[in-house]
Homo-oligomer: 302 residues x 4
């Protein structure tokens, strides 16, 4: 698998007294392509699974003989939302993405960012053109996402118009620069599909929060792609913490007080017919539908 890794941008090693994560080292300066012109790669990091344990042990001292192994302690911390030790690991990425993705990304405030500036530098002729596979209709149930496929004709129509828009926008931009219009003004007609880039530094606790939201199926597809690239790196950088994150956050399910009441008063699994009766104690239709989906996923409805 190592053979299939993208080429490393920098390949000069140094000696350090710091702890080293094998998985992080593997991914340093190896870009993962995201969308048509974007990428993510690890530029720097600080700490590994052991750093989480080290920080936690300063709190627990002799008090934690029961949680004997490092992995056990990491899982305990994740399970009980003792989140501060996860802040002790830090990652810095170089990322390139469409502006509309950057706008969703930047909402995660607990991170450090240095972005390419269209006031100083010329914006590149790189715009996001979606792959046909993700060109879809507005979802009906989910108000913010995508639903059914577009017809091939409509796909062609969309791609053609987007290409034409992008071409026109960039030509206009170049003409503005030619007459020496201030760069900060020249770029205002460029669309949010135009690519930008930044350095992004974040600790593991906040990165997990980012990933939980951005790996979610309700996140816009284009930012999910970046989330998946980062997840690939992190899963090898801090393998124990990653597994705990999957078990207790990413693939866990939360049941509300109302749902727990229904669960506790019945025998499971039950028939669809019975289930549709039983969940009526949850008055709100939308909450009921979401509960139904959870029960289905649990095989609690036969």
């Amino acid at each position: 698998m190592e053979n299939n890794l993208p080429p490393r941008l920098i390949d000069e090693s140094n000696t350090t007294f710091r702890s080293v994560s094998e998985g992080s080292e593997k991914w340093l300066y190896r870009p993962i392509q995201c969308l048509d012109h974007g990428f993510v790669y690890l530029v720097d990091y600080c700490g590994d699974d052991y750093s989480i344990v080290q920080a936690a042990r300063v709190s627990y001292g002799q008090g934690t003989k029961k949680v004997s192994t490092d992995e056990g302690l990491i899982r305990y911390l994740m399970r009980h939302a003792h989140t501060t030790p996860f802040e002790m690991v830090e990652f810095k990425f170089h990322c390139k993405m469409p502006i509309f993705v950057a706008r969703q990304w930047i909402r995660h405030r607990m991170a450090s960012v240095n972005e390419y500036s269209g006031r100083y530098s010329e914006m590149l002729n790189e715009f996001y053109l979606p792959d046909r596979s993700v060109l879809k209709k507005q979802a009906t149930g989910n108000r913010q996402g995508r639903g059914d496929d577009l017809s091939v004709d409509d796909q062609n129509f969309v791609l053609g118009l987007l290409k034409s828009e992008y071409g026109s926008q960039h030509a206009t931009y170049k003409r503005f620069l030619e007459i020496d219009l201030a760069k900060e003004l020249a770029r205002i007609g460029l669309s949010v599909a135009n690519y930008t880039q930044w350095y992004w530094k974040i600790d593991l606790h906040n990165l997990f929060h980012f990933l939980r939201l951005r790996l979610d199926s309700h996140a816009q597809h284009e930012i999910q792609v970046f989330g998946q690239a980062i997840a690939q790196i992190i899963s090898e950088s801090v393998p124990m913490a990653w597994k705990a994150f999957e078990d207790y956050r990413l693939y866990s399910v939360n049941f509300s007080r109302l749902e727990l009441d229904v669960l506790g008063q019945n025998q499971w699994p039950m028939s669809e017919e019975k289930a549709s009766q039983v969940i009526l104690s949850i008055v709100n239709k939308r909450e009921r539908e979401e509960f139904w989906d959870k029960l289905k996923n649990l095989n609690f409805i036969t």
Copy 2:
């Protein structure tokens, strides 16, 4: 119940164009006693349940016809961790607590604090003396909490020694001040049971996070008392958000990936005997014990 309210410190009303929360107004400047010398009262606030809805609607615009009511929208936001609208409500409290409580409290970084300063001002002769009902032995299962009762003799022993310590500490402090030792040095022999106070301003999202951790039975009893006082105020200040918080956060239960596997592969409820077999797929003893407790609470083990 209104009749039993503590006296209001300030009772002069003004006219405003801002939105007003009836519940918040009720609690403004009405201290709730906490522990022997402490208190919490609401000094100022900004926003109410409707402010959450108002901020969310700027995002969802025409896209949310389905979530028709205000309460439905608030519950939807809480359920799906759309937390930013809850940041639009703000509360400011005046709080007085022992230093050891303040030290746990201050770990919540997303808040504004102005604390009484022992460098400028004289520390008062007020120290926390626990009630007999909370003087307990070290817990055995839980490494950080309290377990069985102390004997009455041991209670007397503890209270006597504490009183004597406090008396001696404060007498020493006063003698230091008499010889004009710098206040910032004179106070270093005072214990963490000495009372301090502060103004504390926090938004509702971060306050819910604080309350979730500090109302938990694993939090130190003394900070739980402050959490409960604040919860009483908040439950009336933003009643819809509070109910959603209870349903989806405070009284919800999270099941891990491993636990979901066990749930989905069996019929519930089941006998203790069978349950103890079935959960063996969870290797870690501590995780297994915690799962057992969840199943018991759900009546899934008979």
Copy 3:
């Protein structure tokens, strides 16, 4: 002047036990127009000048008899960077601005934001078209700003092209919606001149930081406009704090160690000829030029 205020959106008053700022009340729900389609107005607030004093007094207690007046204390706090009491005042605005302005604005992380979402809601046909007076060439000295005027012909050229781009972008967007392309995709060809809007809540300390950077002549003109609108409101909401901010932050000047050395070793004012010799001890040309400008502004060079 009050007569010229823009119309108030909501004009219904309530009774409250909270402190009230006359200046804030005046500006509640009164939009100030910014650029061609934008605005800012105050939606809610918490605290006034007195709230700063109140919070500071909890720290200083009896220790601050010397700072006898409220205004004196506020000025002392500002002068000595005792910033936490300024966090005790909070403002919430509803703002509408071009996306490229929003992108600069959002970099201020210590604030709460709920933004209009192009995933849920239809983007409006409103794009920023600069006034002729601000259509300028790239600056030469300052790498990021504007310099000389464009010719009228070039102005016409720019405005014509921008209008045409905006028209095309929006027509394309509408055609995408007609074939039911997911809204989150349909909008990616819209430019950063398209207007968005948000609720923005921030405390006074962080707002002062925002204003210091965004009122600066090096900030992009378009965000300065919003900074000025907010400054107008704040200067009446917390008049004492505002004046201290002007005196000690906005219109103060910082001299570096190297500059202080030059100042202390010479007599001032001096001739241009002598000054150009004297500042040679500052090796870096750019630092020297900046020092020169400060000396000029001080009338220290004749």
Copy 4:
């Protein structure tokens, strides 16, 4: 000088593709003693001077040919408060300090902390006993600091009483543990001079802010000691950024609008007599005194 370094706790090196700071490597795991039982040492780091440049260059791109050298760019960033690139460097320390120092330290919220917990672990019999050289009277001008020396008799009195208090406190604590009182209660009689410890992780921008406040002569002496130890490490870890910090922050002086008016309307230096007249335009006595001190330091008053 390297020969006098304290012994390194860990001395095993690894290979990494990350950038390495020679100065940081030198200080990894080498404790610097602070006060009688405290210390600070560097546990981990991420980035060096070049990381600041690297992040800034992503913004400035081709737009910054004028700032040709790395050091020039770092100085430019510091001078113009372009602070985000400094966030790209991260440091993690293990620190041990008295609780009253920890309580001042923790007010810096933009950092990650894992502290030793008295709920889990036994508090040690280590209390801060001030050196005679810092045992001073309350300052008169400065309301929060230290002034004249204590008499030797008074020093003996203070040290004797403190030792006796500490002894009594710890004996009480041990007796509480013997009767198995919950640790979280047993420790409440221990004073704020008792030592605690933590892992502390912070980025360079926020560390500079910490140092600016805590190296200041108005900070409590005991936290200054920790500030100085950290400054020693940082000055070698990021030598270019450190020098810029000294020149533009630590040893710079800010002149207010009122002070600039006085400066610009007069010839400097001038006599004490004249100066005392000239500064009368500054109405507030305290502001006037502070201005006087600045003028004195500048040799502007003869």
